[in-house]
């Protein structure tokens, strides 16, 4: 079976527990374990090949455009990690079977755990950097789910979020680093990247790449100053801590450094950044661990410290240091996982993790205690245990390095101090929990755990012992193979012996042991010293910090956008000015050479009227009716200008639209507040006025610049073909119903939609109805003056006739369906005004909605009709037919289309106005409040 089966199997394994709940807890666990077991076997089948120095590969194309392939490789390093992940994973599955209570959703737990396992395997097996990143982020995600497994707990939620945020941020930095590498190397393929070490180290982007990649690694592996998420991740169930936060996920960062070691290491920058970070982390973690009363807290900081140690080793840049790092990865995984599991057992069986409560458990759970003591000893670096071996190698390497020049001696000194603290907290773990008198106020009486819950611990502790005693025999080959991979093929000479003789590293070990003992004995003094510093809850601080940032953002955003329409409008206008005025400024001369029209007195009078009226509208806009009248003047002058400058159709349309608008606004005025308040400050008025003048100036300049320059347009076509091909002499109308009939189809759709929308708005509108006019005069009692009624009714047939006339001639002379429709509507509205809604409701049995619909439908059908002749939408047809008596009559499909326009216009405007008028006849009105 190919390599891709490894993550695939575990992925399937993540789905299985969701449906295996019925099999019972043991069944579920067993079935889940089956998949990593097979995967482990699969990996095992490749061991010989890998030990042989070969790399197993699998590759398939996925997204070639971005260089993302499905690509796996199994070399020594990957093998080591895969074994750890699958092996410890299996133990954790077994352990969790007993750890989780009946209430906990086991299926969900296993599913997330397996998902995490998949992601972790994906990282270590990836042969493509992007694919590796893919799995990298998946580990963040699945760890989020695992930490927040008990999501009813606030600390779980906060811890999970913080972990996700920190590792997520690192992941994004890593991504940037990876993409830079990819762009530099031209491939994301790990084989190629690993072969391009010199290219990368020599690149000007090397430092950027290094920092970005290390950000990813450091956040994931909880290096200072990103270490603080890890202790808060302890809110997770203990199997998760054992698995993710000791053995695997936190090692992903280490793995990354090891993986890219051939490419990135070996420079001064690498040494400085990595080793100093590692050293700081080592010291801070070790120091902090001592003060944690929570068992898991102690272990968490201890983990931080050991991760620092490994980082430091990788940072040193020597080959032997790298080997030591790999060795310590293995050792730490075994003893720390077993310690977490032991802590979990203690918690599980005693109900507490607080070392101030937990005392003298030796009596209650001697077997567990033995295991935990051995594991702690391994952590402390006691000889005959695996921790001792890697620590010795570490000490030896600290003595070797000299890059820091005259202060190089500090490294072994700090290493020894760190080790001393390590001994101290290990002692504390052993003594405070298993000895030191009797337990205090424990929720339950402690006892040994179920038999099989201890098995994983026993296996791991056994490994600590065996490796510690027979290192070369047990893991010699694995270590060599993994180290070869890290070092890019060059394995240094080293020997895995228990006894190297009396040398400096051994002295350091002894010093650390002694120092640790002294530290532990004098711990109370240290505790008192540490008590001077307030206990910080990083998770809470982090949360508060984000809230504070959020509040700051709200204030900042409020400056740009206070939610006010005026503010938004301001920005819109501002941008319009900003983008359009600079080009206009570069215009040499506003006026072009096109001959201009001479001015006469009427034009001046009209322009005066227009400008005075529009400025007066602005000045008097608080006087509602007055501004409406001013608007009428503007509309009138605009219509006359259209007429004057050869646009009769426009003049007619503008006039009729004008009237409907006035009627509409009058209706609105009745229901809007009678007095308009002034909401504007003087500053605002100045600002708005300047902006308005700028925009007006821009538009005016544009108008002038355009009008005074000649241009060539496509319009000759319409002039040439309106009559011959379009069948009409009114070119504008032919454009509307034929050349650009599609626009008109859209336009009547707009009108119809507006009517529908307005209908919706009017429905259930509860309006205020004023009793008096703004001056306090009650309304006149005479609703429908008789003379007004009589004349209005007499005008109706005349207006309808005019409307029909306008409709009919539209194709050849100014007019057409739209104007005719408006005239009809106005004529009917006039009846509404003169005679009242009730009078007409009983007499007009037209469903305006259906009128709109049929208008649109007619236009639509006219357009689609051409499909029958294999012609495109709206292909027109016209012909002259000779009727007896009447003579030659032109028939055109455009007329049917225009009829559709007509009906839509009538329907839409009547639907709006009649419904609006009808509002007051129903009983939905409210009293005016002012």
């Amino acid at each position: 079976m190919s390599l891709y089966w490894v993550p695939l199997l575990t992925f399937i394994g993540s789905l299985v527990p969701l449906i295996a709940g019925r099999l019972g807890r043991s069944g579920c666990a067993a079935l889940t374990a089956l998949f990593p077991a097979i995967a482990l076997a699969l990996i095992a089948s490749h061991i010989a090949t890998v030990f042989d120095g070969q790399t197993v590969r699998f590759a398939a194309e996925w997204v070639p455009k971005i260089g993302l392939d499905i690509s796996f490789r199994l070399d020594g390093l990957a093998l080591l990690f895969a074994l750890l992940i699958l092996g410890i994973g299996l133990l954790v599955i077994l352990y969790a079977r007993y750890y989780l209570s009946e209430k906990d959703a086991m299926g969900r737990f296993y599913s997330f755990l397996m998902l995490f396992m998949t992601a972790m395997l994906g990282i270590v097996l990836s042969n493509n950097l992007l694919q590796m990143w893919f799995f990298w982020e998946l580990t963040s995600l699945s760890s989020f789910l695992l930490i927040s497994y008990w999501h009813h707990r606030s600390d779980a939620r906060k811890g999970a979020r913080m972990a996700l945020t920190i590792t997520g941020a690192g992941g994004l930095a890593l991504l940037a680093g990876i993409v830079l590498i990819g762009q530099l190397v031209g491939s994301y393929d790990l084989d190629i990247v690993l072969a391009s070490g010199d290219l990368i180290r020599g690149s000007e982007h090397y430092l950027t790449i290094l920092v970005l990649v290390l950000l990813g690694a450091f956040t994931k592996s909880a290096q200072f100053p990103f270490h603080f998420w890890l202790p808060h991740a302890m809110a997770a169930p203990t199997p998760v801590s054992a698995y993710l936060h000791s053995a695997t996920m936190v090692k992903a960062g280490i793995f990354l450094m090891a993986r890219l070691y051939p490419v990135l290491a070996g420079t001064e920058a690498w040494f400085l950044i990595v080793s100093i970070t590692g050293l700081l982390t080592l010291l801070i973690g070790a120091y902090m661990a001592l003060f944690k009363h929570d068992l898991k807290g102690l272990l968490a900081y201890s983990t931080v410290s050991h991760l620092g140690l490994i980082t430091l080793l990788l940072g040193m840049g020597t080959q032997l240091a790298a080997v030591a790092a790999v060795f310590h990865i293995i050792n730490h995984a075994t003893f720390k996982a077993s310690l977490f599991m032991a802590a979990g057992i203690i918690d599980h069986e005693s109900g507490s993790r607080d070392m101030r409560q937990l005392n003298g458990l030796w009596k209650y759970m001697p077997q567990t205690a033995t295991l935990a003591i051995i594991a702690s000893a391994a952590m402390a670096g006691v000889p005959l245990l695996n921790g001792f071996l890697s620590k010795e190698m570490f000490f030896a390497e600290t003595l070797e390095q000299s890059t820091l020049g005259s202060i190089s001696w500090m490294v072994p000194v700090f290493a020894t101090i760190g080790a001393a603290f390590s001994v101290a907290y290990s002692l504390r773990f052993i003594h405070d929990v298993f000895f030191n008198g009797e337990p205090r106020d424990l929720p339950k009486v402690p006892h040994e755990p179920p038999r099989y819950m201890r098995v994983p611990v026993e296996i791991l502790v056994g490994l600590c012992l065996i490796v510690g005693i027979l290192p070369q025999l047990t893991i010699g080959e694995l270590l060599a193979s993994a180290s070869t991979a890290v070092l890019g093929g060059n394995l240094p000479y080293y020997k895995l012996y228990i006894w190297h003789g009396f040398n400096l590293p051994l002295m350091m070990s002894i010093a650390a042991m002694a120092g640790g003992a002294v530290l532990y004995i004098n711990r109370h003094r240290l505790f008192r010293f540490q008590a001077n510093f307030p206990e910080r809850n990083e998770s809470q601080m982090f949360d508060d910090g984000i809230k504070k940032i959020r509040d700051g953002i709200r204030v900042f955003m409020g400056w740009f956008d206070n939610g006010a329409t005026q503010r938004s409008v301001f920005w819109l206008l501002f941008l319009a000015v900003a983008v359009s005025i600079p080009p206009l400024m570069s215009l040499n001369s506003t006026a072009g050479f096109r001959p201009q029209i001479p001015v006469d007195s009427v034009m001046i009078a009209g322009a005066t009227l227009l400008c005075v009226a529009s400025i007066a509208t602005v000045i008097w806009h608080h006087q509602r009716l007055l501004s409406l009248l001013l608007l009428s003047i503007v509309g009138l002058i605009v219509s006359i200008s259209f007429a004057l400058f050869s646009a009769p159709d426009l003049a007619l349309t503008q006039l009729s639209v004008e009237v409907v608008t006035i009627v509409l606004l009058l209706l609105a005025l009745y229901f809007l507040p009678q007095r308009i308040r002034n909401y504007s400050s003087p500053n605002r008025i100045v600002r708005d006025a300047s902006l308005s003048v700028l925009i007006g100036g821009m538009v005016g300049t544009l108008t002038y610049a355009l009008m005074t320059r000649p241009f060539e347009s496509i319009s000759w076509f319409y002039e040439a073909n309106a009559k011959t091909l379009g069948g009409g002499t009114n070119i504008v109308n032919v454009i509307l119903v034929d050349f650009r009939g599609f626009d008109t189809f859209g336009e009547i759709t707009v009108l119809a939609i507006a009517a529908l929308g307005i209908f919706k708005l009017i429905a259930r509108m509860r309006l205020y109805q004023p009793h008096t006019d703004p001056d306090g005069i009650p309304w006149a009692p005479d609703k429908h003056p008789i003379m007004f009624q009589i004349i209005s009714q007499a005008l109706l047939p005349l207006a309808l006739m005019v409307s029909f006339y306008i409709f009919l001639r539209g194709h050849n002379l100014p007019g057409g369906g739209f104007i005719a429709g408006l005239i009809t509507s106005i004529a009917i509205i006039q009846q509404y005004i003169a005679r009242g809604y009730d009078f007409l409701r009983d007499r007009i049995n037209v469903n305006y909605l259906s009128l709109i619909g049929s208008g649109l439908l007619i236009a639509f059908v006219t357009g689609v009709g051409s499909f029958l002749w294999q012609q495109p939408f709206l292909k027109s047809w016209h012909d002259y037919i000779d009727f007896p008596l009447i003579g030659e009559v032109e028939l055109a499909s455009a007329m049917a289309f225009d009829l559709g326009v007509y009906l839509t216009v009538v329907g839409a405007s009547m639907l709006i106005l009649a419904n609006l008028g009808g509002l007051t006849t129903t009983d939905r009105l409210r009293e005016e409040e002012e």
Binding site: V602, T608, S639, L666, F788, I806
Partner: protein, 89 residues
Amino acid sequence: MLETTILIVSALIGLSLLLNLWRFMKGPHMLDRIIALDTMYINAIALIVLLGIFMGSPLYYEGALFIAMLGFVSTSAVCKFILRGDIIE
């Protein structure tokens, strides 16, 4: 001759329009403004008819007709508004 006359008459109408505008601005009552506007409509009709004669084109006729019809509708609607507030009731 005709052209000169048209120029003179259009100046007369322009003057009329400005007088109307004066009354509109002066008021004093809203109704004065409405009369001023209504008179503007009438002057506008005359102006458009005059334009038609000047251009020798009958295309302007409907414009004049429209102003006549629509001026009435809007003026009466505004009066109704002053009288009753609700113009369609």
